[in-house]
Subunit: 477 residues, 2 copies
């Protein structure tokens, strides 16, 4: 199977698409810019959803569902919001054979329709906080699309919360950012930088946007999740007020936050290799694939041996027994590597004689013979080790490709060369930010927490003025 | 709270809407014909999804996701399909600020987009069966809408399977019908009739449509789920062929099957009463609500007693402690009844002294004092009893309102009077079917399994010709 995947070193972009298609994660659809998420890809999304949904509920959120179609006029109520999203909208003009009185847009995000409902539901401080999340499809018309990373339609979750004070809403914004960080690190084995976005990069309609940013294997950054403090912008646009505990009237404070099926793209780009997909065990739909190795004369015995192992493991692991007789063991090894299964178990006649099996790590290729009776325990340990090893490898890679740079020529040279993450001092000037982008194609991915303190005494890499921020620059997806 | 709900006897339709709105299951949205599913409603849907998804996976299905938007030309490839669905479509004509070359419709159902993909994925009998399910939103432009029962957008699951033979596809169609029957009966406590639809009532594009039909408290029928044998209709329309085991080429055989958020409407209409929602325990987001009864002088002790009970139950049940001090116990009793929580636990100072609590059944209002130590066990039994009692009550109601009728005047009188399910002999003639509908507003809900044998020797209720079927007639949602 391996020859179907373009090596990363040859063409990173082709490598990515080859993995998505050959590992059957997704396929191009006949509708321009959209994709089909195939069962092997959707199963990863289901594991992501399940972990995130648990975390959302543990932090007090409830799920709800709001309409797909939003009146065009709603989008226009928040000035920055419409400017950001109107150009990306798909518009429904006809329904039931008739032209609609007002065109409806397919939600690019749901702030407007949700805040139009919050107006009905919120009267008093007793109705707050209102902590709602929605799992849904959204649509943003994109010119240049890429499987999982940028498609006109994608699946996501969007949290929309309402609070009685700015402090509480800010706390919520950071709490959910931390939920995302935790999910990325612990489930996706993906180290992320966290912090705030510059004005130029923030969400259309937000006061402040926070993000988690990860480094991919081509050293580009990928924004993996965002959490927005919306201030009172949407409450003002939709006239959502509440009676405070001391009897006054105030506009409600808001947050919103989301992650999408883009995370599957991040997962692929962070961990996979030239043989195919590499999945962190926690998100792998199949943790273990058993491949029996047999010939005609020992077929029954070896299959029986593999089957007993399968029965033993089934209660504790997501395990498949690949007993198909149409393909050779070698072909199956490649296939399960391509699909990213963290552990392959090989068992042949000699293993059976020695009452052992061989565990093979997907991430390193290491082969570990182990007594059959010890396999269940050893698999548990190994899955943990693989989960940790993937994180460590990604972390080391990011460290190795992050540079403190204090000279503009060096910065330009850095991005003309191998690139990566550049940590630089910045005045805060939008012009300086724009110049960096023009000269290097890199943008400010994030201003890490504590960056203002770190900027003390430093000078802006562009203007030489006193720096107000330390920024992480990178080219990005 | 109770006075906010119109009694069933006064106006059934208003009663239904009052329950949906007051129990906070859903709300009207500003977009005509659509609704917002609020957290209390969505939590029921999540429990439905979880149970159904498990059953789908146990029967070998995998989830996937296909695009929301379908080229108009795809819909037209299957003649009956387009005739059935085109008038109900919402049409996207503009995207990203430009008019589209070809209009896209928002999926009313996904056969066409899915079979366009199956063409790419299926080459040989080895690729079959292909057993895929999708959880998604769909849109059908409806003139007259009703919360949960009929909205332009709704949430559902749609299974789409591909098989190498007609027999296998027919087996799958009936297997999934039985999954639906089992879910309705065991989880929803909803007895259903199963069988095949008449030609006039079948799905646009199906060879045969099977359905589960339930009786609501106003004696009308509600179609709660359908399973279609599609023959080779979509394979022909999308040119999906496969190489058979003996080397020939054949078109693939198909099924599709779906249930939707309409089930929540069925659940409400089947079990609820004039005090509010009544939920079968298996689908109740909250199984038990503890309401402590205290005055200032014993506040701490009673709350402590209730809290210990809460801690004891928390690991085994979905339980809430309502310790809010702004509302009276009586107000809370009504509130939890309105929300449909199957068991309320009352505990006051006297209960504390006697080391007991009082369990109150939502379905019957029965009060059951029980020793505190025995509560966990008693709750488990009671939840099972309530689940069974709701089923039994609905079943008895359907039995009491189903009549064998063999005279056309009696049939007309039946539907002019109280109505219900009428079991009649039918020739199979579409004209007879149409006449019944004209005269009674009742339609053939289902031709139960074995109906042809039962028809032997009987005569059609309309024409007097020899009967070929026994049909269940009812007015319906």
């Amino acid at each position: 199977m391996a020859e179907r995947i373009t090596p990363r070193s040859e063409n990173y972009s082709d490598w990515y698409v080859d993995i998505v298609l050959n590992a059957q994660l997704a396929d191009y659809s006949p509708v321009k810019g959209t994709m089909v998420i195939r069962p092997r890809g959707y199963a990863i999304w289901e594991r992501m959803q399940s972990a995130l949904d648990t975390m959302f509920k543990e932090t007090g959120h409830q799920n709800a569902y709001f309409p797909l179609l939003i009146p065009e006029s709603f989008l226009k109520k928040e000035a920055e919001h419409v400017e950001g999203f109107a150009p990306e909208c798909a518009v429904v003009t006809h329904g039931g054979g008739e032209e609609l009185e007002e065109p409806l847009v397919i939600r690019p995000t749901s702030e407007t329709i949700i805040w139009s409902m919050y107006r009905k539901w919120i009267q008093s401080y007793r109705d707050l906080p209102l902590l709602i999340n929605q799992w849904a499809n959204v649509m943003r018309w994109e010119k240049r699309t890429r499987l999982f990373l940028r498609t006109t339609e994608f699946l996501w979750q969007e949290g929309h919360t309402a609070h009685a004070s700015a402090e509480e809403a800010r706390e919520e914004t950071l709490r959910m950012l931390d939920v995302y960080r935790c999910f990325a690190e612990e489930h996706m084995a993906l180290p992320v930088l966290t912090g705030i976005k510059s004005e130029a990069e923030k969400f259309a309609g937000a006061v402040d946007t926070y993000a988690i940013e990860a480094m991919m294997q081509d050293k580009k950054a990928l924004q993996a999740g965002t959490s927005h403090f919306l201030g009172q912008n949407f409450a003002r646009a939709f006239d959502v007020t509440f009676q405070t505990a001391d009897g006054a009237l105030d506009h409600v404070w808001a947050t919103s936050w989301g992650v999408s099926t883009r995370l599957i793209g991040a997962l692929i780009m962070a961990h996979s290799d030239d043989r195919g997909l590499v999945l962190p065990p926690k998100l792998a739909p199949t943790e273990v694939a058993i491949v029996p190795i047999f010939k005609n004369q020992n077929r029954t015995e070896v299959l029986g041996y593999a089957d007993r192992l399968h029965q033993t493991l089934k209660g504790s692991y997501r395990v498949v027994l690949d007993a198909d007789e149409n393909n050779s063991p070698g072909w199956k090894f490649s296939q399960w590597e391509l699909f990213g299964v963290p552990i392959r178990i090989e068992c042949g006649p000699r293993d059976m004689q020695n009452n052992q099996v061989v565990l093979v790590r997907r991430d390193t290729g290491e082969k570990l013979p182990v007594a059959a009776g010890a396999a269940p325990q050893r698999i548990a340990e190994l899955l943990q080790q693989i989960q940790q090893a993937l994180y460590d490898r990604a972390h080391a890679f990011r460290q190795a490709n992050t540079r403190d740079i204090d000279n503009y020529d060096d910065l330009v040279a850095f991005f003309e060369g191998d690139g990566g993450f550049a940590r630089v001092a910045w005045s805060g000037s939008p012009e300086a930010e724009a110049r960096i982008k023009d000269d290097t194609k890199a943008t400010i991915r994030v201003l890490p927490f504590g960056n203002q303190e770190q900027a003390a005494g430093k000078r802006c890499i562009v203007t030489g003025e006193p720096a107000r921020h330390v920024a992480i620059l990178a080219r990005s997806y």
